[in-house]
């Protein structure tokens, strides 16, 4: 799953920035990531701006509410429209979260953790395989931040993710901030954790900011990425030994686009430094 078009650090395309980004001739962003739920079936000025950018620049797609580990039937109309959208954007893959978001036809609009059980693995593997069969591009699954285990666990998160990725034979969208936040909340070493996972399946990396609330750290996507998370990204790239695309997510307290472009450049420098080390190692 190496696509030359998709290297470096991209940026999540967000509504407040559409006007400015649509008018930029040289923004320096190698690719954008967009959430199809926010574009498919929409209309009006912002929709037109989003489509103009997505038709102009390289794009990766990232779903929010498919509920891969849930039980609700797929929305066939949406799946059809999603397929058309993925083809239109030319995305090399489509990512979804390894979680559930719907129960009994109600969408909760939150990424909720799946039980770390053998039954849950079997169910999620079957769902992911079924979803993959309905998409025109390869499916990636993303590890989420979780704040509680759902029910009595039969395995830990690392074993659960490994079992699902390997059972479903899908690629992995590795969110290093989620790993870092989970490590803080559950008290483990993120590098030891990553070393246990099938890193050969990583096709893309997510990076974002988080915030501590009392005893709990929450994946807010509402602050700058902190240095230890950047260092974890570099460590991961070194461990992977190949340049997978990294995507900066920002969903809350969204700053002006210039501020975010500046943060992206800072991450790009860190990314480049990791690749230089990688090349030196291979030389």
């Amino acid at each position: 799953m190496t696509h030359d078009r998709f290297t470096g650090v991209g940026l999540g395309l967000r509504r407040p920035h559409l006007e400015a980004v649509a008018q930029m001739e040289a923004h320096g962003v190698p690719f954008w990531e967009t959430c199809p739920e926010n574009v498919v079936g929409d209309g009006g000025r912002h929709h037109r701006l989003a489509c103009a950018i997505l038709d102009r620049d390289p794009v990766l797609t990232h779903g929010l509410t498919m509920s891969v580990g849930g039980f609700d039937a797929w929305d066939q109309d949406y799946l059809r429209d999603l397929g058309d959208f993925l083809v239109r954007t030319g995305t090399p893959w489509h990512s979804e979260h390894l979680c559930f978001t719907r129960v009994d036809a109600t969408c909760l609009h939150e990424l909720l953790p799946l039980p770390f059980t053998r039954e849950s693995v079997r169910h999620t593997v079957a769902r992911a395989r079924d979803l993959q069969a309905r998409l025109p591009v390869p499916l990636l699954l993303e590890n989420i931040t979780y704040y509680a285990e759902l029910g009595a666990a039969e395995m830990d998160e690392a074993d659960f993710i490994t079992a699902v990725l390997e059972g479903a034979d899908t690629g992995w969208l590795l969110d290093v901030n989620n790993v870092y936040v989970n490590a803080l909340n559950f008290g483990f070493d993120p590098k030891d954790w990553l070393a246990r996972l099938p890193l050969d399946r990583v096709a893309q990396i997510h990076i974002a900011g988080h915030k501590r609330f009392g005893e709990l750290t929450v994946d807010t996507h509402g602050a700058e990425v902190i240095d230890p998370v950047i260092e974890l990204m570099q460590w991961t790239l070194a461990r992977l030994g190949r340049p997978v695309p990294v995507l900066l997510e920002r969903d809350n307290h969204i700053p002006d686009v210039e501020v975010l472009l500046g943060e992206r450049r800072r991450l790009q420098q860190a990314y480049n430094a990791a690749l230089v080390n990688l090349e030196a190692r291979h030389a």
Partner: protein
């Protein structure tokens, strides 16, 4: 076939984050797991992680309630002034009517629930109109883009029918809900007619109409302009045609179609 444990756990989580009785959850976080027939081990997991599960309760509620706070500021101000906003939101969550995975559909789901349930409308007969008016421009602004109707001409003639732009909405209320503010959320009871449409830039615009113009825009979609004007007792057609030209120029009307050569 027995329900899977995974499904029961997911249902228990949904109960935990959506159910009304926060005090009961606080006292016994294992309650949701028990109600869904889960084992003692699963109930214990809920009890032992009660605080973390309450984080999910906050996050889900934030996701579902923020669009309502943003889209219905006047309705919220009215209900908060009587300490009923939280009750209204909980009744909406209890109904579990958020089906769509599109975040933009949460506010319309609330409006649909308000219409179906009649919540609060005995006390405030204008409540549904108020909520509708608050969302109207957003609904128009984000109406799904589609190919424009074809075979239309730009200049209206007496024997034409009107074809509205697909995003345009004509609404009639019994109250002047579009003039309310968070500081003055109670509308005057007076017939109100509005047209909401997208301009050439794709931005929503709202215009107040007289009752005669509103009726003409409704009737002249199925009968000729001349016939509709006569039925409504409008003696002069030229001012009507001038207004229609303006509405076409601004984007509210897609065009005109002759009844003779449709």
């Amino acid at each position: 076939m027995p329900e899977s444990r995974t499904l029961r756990l997911q249902r228990a989580m949904a109960s935990f984050v959506l159910d009304a009785d926060e005090a009961a959850l606080e006292a016994d976080p294992g309650r949701a797991a028990r109600r869904h027939g889960l084992s003692g081990d699963d109930q214990r997991a809920f009890r032992e992680q009660g605080e973390a599960l309450r984080t999910y309760r906050e996050l889900v509620r934030m996701s579902l309630v923020e669009p309502l706070e943003e889209m219905f500021p006047v309705l919220r101000a009215l209900l908060e002034s009587t300490e009923l906003w939280d009750g209204c939101v909980q009744a909406f969550l209890d109904a579990r009517t958020v089906r769509s995975g599109h975040y933009r559909d949460i506010a319309p789901a609330f409006l649909g629930w308000l219409a179906a349930s009649g919540w609060g409308q005995e006390r405030w007969p204008f409540l549904l109109e108020l909520a509708h008016a608050e969302l109207l421009e957003v609904l128009v602004a984000r109406y799904p883009d589609a190919d424009p109707p074809t075979g239309l001409h730009a200049t209206p003639k007496p024997n034409d029918v009107i074809v509205l732009d697909p995003a345009t909405q004509l609404v009639s209320y019994g109250h002047a809900v579009h003039r309310t503010t968070a500081a003055k959320p109670i509308p005057e009871a007076t017939p109100t007619h509005l047209i909401a449409f997208r301009d050439a830039e794709g931005e929503a615009r709202l215009m107040e109409l007289t009752s005669a113009t509103a009726a003409l825009l409704v009737q002249a979609r199925t009968r000729s302009l001349a016939e509709a004007a006569a039925a409504l007792g409008i003696p002069e057609l030229e001012p009507v045609l001038a207004l229609l030209r303006d509405l076409h120029r601004d984007g509210a009307i897609a065009g005109f179609q002759s009844l003779e050569n449709p």
